[in-house]
Structure formats: structure tokens, C-alpha cells
């Protein structure tokens, strides 16, 4: 029984932190720019493929440093893509209604999908975890793979860094000011356009980083974007649109819901997940830590 509970808790944490890694960039961009970026999953997917391409050079056994470097390369590549997308798409649409931006991000998702098929093809690919993370830890009858522990720690570290930057630095306070009132921020001399650009770069880089860190957990295929983005959207909505802390809490909540559901209701995948999202939205439409709008 103890082993089962530990397994459920551990699976919940793996799901939570993997999903938070993806959701963090999504909610950051929404929080500052108020742009709901449907293409985020697409750039997560390309990040994973970029990391796969880097790791291919190392053959079957991948050292940890190479795995981390591949994730950083994926983050840098997607950050660069974020700058390009900001210049080519978002700046041109800044004076249009949000629905046009939403459609544009969906179009970008299709572009990502086509790009992956064109460059990497339709076949499945896979990457082994770094060789130093191939072992397992036995705890109270549960088996905890080292790579899964690595994913949990990576998610936790990402959250702590974002929390520290957003709440305890002048950069974070500037971002809060822009998120609350961009007009006033520019009147106070803040270059809001530049901050928007950097937020987009960081948001896309986080998608790439997530792709690179999670690449060993996945079968790489052009379906990857859709699989994870649904979970990430669930986390962002339940946490409160734009709240990093909310996304973190929601990821843990929905992670436990998923883990319990997988253990006790395996014939009904996703039912508890969507029921929880519906319940939160009925009881608290703005999400757990979101701001109510009038």
C-alpha cells in the first residue's frame, strides 16, 4: 500500500513538473502580453527535435552534460524563433483584436507541424536518458527512475528561478507593472516594446528548454505538440491565466488527479482531468490565483 501511494505521488510529481516546464512559458507570455499562444506546443516540439538532432551526434550513450547542453541549444534556438515570430507576426498584429492574434498563433502551430514533417519526417524517433540517469531508486516499495527525479527537479528549479525573478528583482517588478498597465509603463519611460520582445524570447526559450529536457521521455513524432499542449493549457487555465505560481500549484493538483485517475480509473483516461478543470472553472472562473475580470 505504501509503495502504491509513493508511486502515485511520484507519478503525480513527474506529470506535474513535466507539464509545468511546458506551461511556464505559455503562462509567462499570457501574463505579460495577454497573448494566448496556441503555437507554444509547436515550439516545444521543435525544441525536442532540435535536442534530438544534437544528441544524435553522441550515439547510444549520452553523457549528462551533453543532454543539458542539447536542452540549452534547443532553448536558444526557440528563443531566436521567438524573436523572429515577435517581429514577423505579433508586432504586426499589436493593434488588432485578440481573436486575430489567436488565429495567427494557431496558424503558427500548423507551420511548426509542417516544419517538423519537412525536416525530420513522419517516422518516430527516440532518445535514451543520459547514461548517469539510467538507474532507479527504491523507496518504500516504489521504483523511482533517476531520469524522472531529474525531470521533477528541473521543473522545481524552473519554478524557483521564475518566482525569484518575478517577485524579488527589479526586472520582475517592471514586468508586473507592464502586465498591469502597459500604457502607464511607457509613460513612465519604460520601453514596453522591448520588454514584450524579451518576454516572447524567454517564453519561447522556455518551450525549447522543456522540449530539450523532456526529449528522453517521449516518442518524437509530429503529434507531440498536441499531446502536451492540452495538458499545459489545462494547467494555465486552472492556475489562473498569467500566474506562474498558479500554474505551479495547478500542475501539482492536476498531476495528482491524473495519477489517481491512472491508478484507480484506468478505463476512463482524462475524465477526472477534465472534470477537475470544469469544477475549478465553475467555482472560481478566474482560476486558482488568477485576477477576476469585470
Amino acid at each position: 500500500m505504501t509503495g502504491e501511494l509513493i508511486t502515485i505521488a511520484f507519478n503525480a510529481l513527474i506529470w506535474s513538473m513535466a507539464t509545468f516546464l511546458i506551461a511556464s512559458g505559455l503562462t509567462l507570455v499570457f501574463g505579460i502580453l495577454h497573448v494566448l499562444n496556441f503555437s507554444h506546443g509547436g515550439f516545444f516540439m521543435i525544441g525536442a527535435y532540435v535536442a534530438y538532432t544534437v544528441l544524435e551526434q553522441f550515439g547510444a550513450t549520452v553523457p549528462l552534460w551533453a543532454y543539458l547542453m542539447a536542452a540549452i541549444v534547443a532553448a536558444a534556438a526557440m528563443g531566436t524563433a521567438g524573436a523572429a515570430v515577435d517581429q514577423v507576426v505579433f508586432r504586426r498584429l499589436k493593434n488588432f483584436e485578440g481573436v486575430y492574434v489567436l488565429i495567427a498563433t494557431y496558424a503558427l502551430l500548423l507551420v511548426c507541424d509542417g516544419f517538423v514533417k519537412l525536416v525530420w519526417g513522419l517516422n518516430y524517433h527516440s532518445v535514451s536518458p543520459p547514461e548517469s540517469l539510467l538507474g532507479v531508486l527504491f523507496a518504500g516499495g516504489a521504483i523511482l527512475p533517476h531520469f524522472s527525479i531529474f525531470v521533477v527537479l528541473a521543473g522545481l528549479l524552473t519554478f524557483l528561478v521564475l518566482e525569484a525573478v518575478l517577485n524579488h528583482t527589479s526586472v520582475g517588478r517592471t514586468l508586473q507593472a507592464i502586465a498591469a498597465d502597459p500604457w502607464m509603463a511607457q509613460v513612465l519611460g519604460i520601453n514596453v516594446s522591448s520588454v514584450y520582445r524579451w518576454t516572447m524570447i524567454v517564453g519561447f526559450a522556455l518551450a525549447g528548454l522543456a522540449g530539450g529536457l523532456l526529449v528522453a521521455n517521449q516518442s518524437l513524432s509530429p503529434d507531440l505538440a498536441g499531446i502536451f499542449i492540452l495538458q499545459a493549457f489545462g494547467v494555465v487555465i486552472v492556475g489562473g491565466m498569467g500566474s506562474i505560481r498558479g500554474a505551479f500549484i495547478a500542475a501539482i493538483l492536476l498531476g495528482f488527479v491524473e495519477a489517481i485517475s491512472a491508478t484507480y480509473l484506468p478505463s476512463y483516461p482524462g475524465v477526472l482531468f477534465f472534470a477537475t478543470i470544469a469544477a475549478v472553472l465553475i467555482l472560481r472562473p478566474e482560476g486558482l490565483l488568477g485576477r477576476a475580470t469585470t
Binding site: 527589479s170 517588478r173 517592471t174 508586473q176 507593472a177 498591469a180 498597465d181 500604457w183 502607464m184 509603463a185 511607457q186 509613460v187 513612465l188 519611460g189 519604460i190 520601453n191 514596453v192 516594446s193
Partner: protein
């Protein structure tokens, strides 16, 4: 220091300002009077390129204002305290004030928070409160402190007395006069409250439906008693 020639401003298809001409010397303080909708706030926003589309010529110091974005104009030394104050609710008062330091010019260090408190003592006890915890009068003082921290050459106050209790309005008037004296700062005050405007400025421009219908000293304004009835009484 500020020259405006034939300024027209538009929101979409709506033509708000019609050929405004205005001059302001270094260290001078002027009022823009007019009813709601006369174009006072639009004029201030037009100077900063903060929303309305503009045509015409504007010059601030040695700089011609043409296509510069808002933050660049602010960094030339123009600071706007908007009518609705727009205090950031989840930042403390000290953090709100510090946000104004982005506007500091390269050659001029911003005030420290302590120096701002010396100029606006009412702000001192509020520094650790959050923006959402302030009364209207407190918000106004904090908004002025935030507009002042970068040591602007021109401070623009949009209807600063609006919605404030009479006793607070008196304090505000004293504060603005203290700010004027500090470093010989120029000030533009838009107002509907004639007494308040008279106490805080040297001369005035009277706006009606986006046009200047009178400009002169307060004495000249007083000699034209019909101006109040025609352009200010509702």
C-alpha cells in the same frame, strides 16, 4: 522650452484638437482650462505620443518631437501624471515611485526615495503600503511622487484636484508650488477648478471643443468675466 504649432490630434476618425498653438518657457507654469471633452488630456497625451495620432509641429528644448515613441519622449524630461493616477495596485508605494526613475535623463540622476519624501512628506508614511490600499488623495500624491522622481524638466498634471476633498486640494496646491520652486521646474496643470489652477500657475490657456479660445495671464482672464460663463460653466 515647449513650442507647439498647429497641433491637430485624432482618435480614429474623431478630430479632437484643432490647430493648437502653445508656448511654455523654462520654469514657467501654465494651466489648461476647459470643460470635460475640451481636449485637455488629449493635448498632454499628444505631447507624449501616448495614444492620439497627431499632425503639426512640436518642439521640446532642442528636440523636435516627430516620430519618437512615448518612452523616448518621457526620457527627454517630460513627465505626465494622468487624471486617473494609474497606480500599480500590486506594487508598494516605494516600488511604484521607483518605476518613475526609468524616465531619468542620462545627464541627470533621479531623486532618491528620501529626496522625493522631502518634497512630498505626505508620501513618507505610505511607502510600504500596496497601491490598492491607498485612498484617492494618497494615490494622487504617490502619482505625483512617481512623476517627479526622474527630475523631469516638465511636469504635466492632468486634473490633479479632481475627486479630492477640499482640505487635500489645499495641501496639493502647496505641494505643487513647492515642486515648482524646486529646480525651477516647468509645470502644466489641466483643471476645471479655476481657483486651484490660479494658485498653482502663472498663466492659462482656455480650451473649448479642441481649440484655444483664450490665452493670457490670470489678470487678463479675470478682466474677461464672460469667459467663465461661455467656456467653463456647465
Amino acid at each position: 522650452m515647449l513650442e507647439v504649432r498647429d497641433l491637430n490630434a485624432f482618435y480614429g476618425q474623431s478630430h479632437i484638437l484643432h490647430g493648437i498653438n502653445l508656448d511654455l518657457a523654462e520654469g514657467e507654469s501654465i494651466a489648461l482650462l476647459g470643460r470635460n471633452g475640451a481636449g485637455k488630456s488629449t493635448f498632454l497625451k499628444a505631447l507624449l505620443n501616448a495614444d492620439p495620432r497627431t499632425e503639426g509641429a512640436m518642439r521640446f528644448g532642442a528636440q523636435t518631437l516627430d516620430t519618437q515613441p512615448t518612452h523616448t519622449r518621457t526620457r527627454l524630461g517630460m513627465s505626465l501624471v494622468p487624471e486617473d493616477r494609474r497606480i500599480f495596485p500590486k506594487l508598494t508605494v516605494a516600488q511604484n515611485i521607483e518605476m518613475g526613475a526609468f524616465a531619468a535623463r542620462e545627464e541627470q540622476k533621479p531623486y532618491t526615495i528620501a529626496e522625493v519624501v522631502d518634497l512630498l512628506p505626505m508620501v513618507g508614511p505610505l511607502l510600504n503600503r500596496f497601491g490598492y490600499q491607498l485612498s484617492g488623495g494618497q494615490q494622487q500624491m504617490v502619482a505625483i511622487a512617481r512623476g517627479l522622481i526622474a527630475r523631469p524638466r516638465l511636469l504635466m498634471l492632468d486634473e490633479p484636484a479632481e475627486g479630492l476633498a477640499p482640505v487635500i486640494v489645499d495641501e496639493l496646491s502647496d505641494t505643487i508650488n513647492a515642486i515648482r520652486k524646486a529646480e525651477g521646474r516647468s509645470i502644466v496643470v489641466t483643471e476645471q477648478n479655476i481657483d486651484f489652477a490660479r494658485q498653482t500657475t502663472d498663466r492659462l490657456y482656455l480650451l473649448d471643443v479642441g481649440s484655444v479660445v483664450f490665452s493670457g495671464t490670470w489678470e487678463e482672464f479675470s478682466r474677461n468675466a464672460d469667459l467663465v460663463d461661455r467656456y467653463l460653466v456647465l
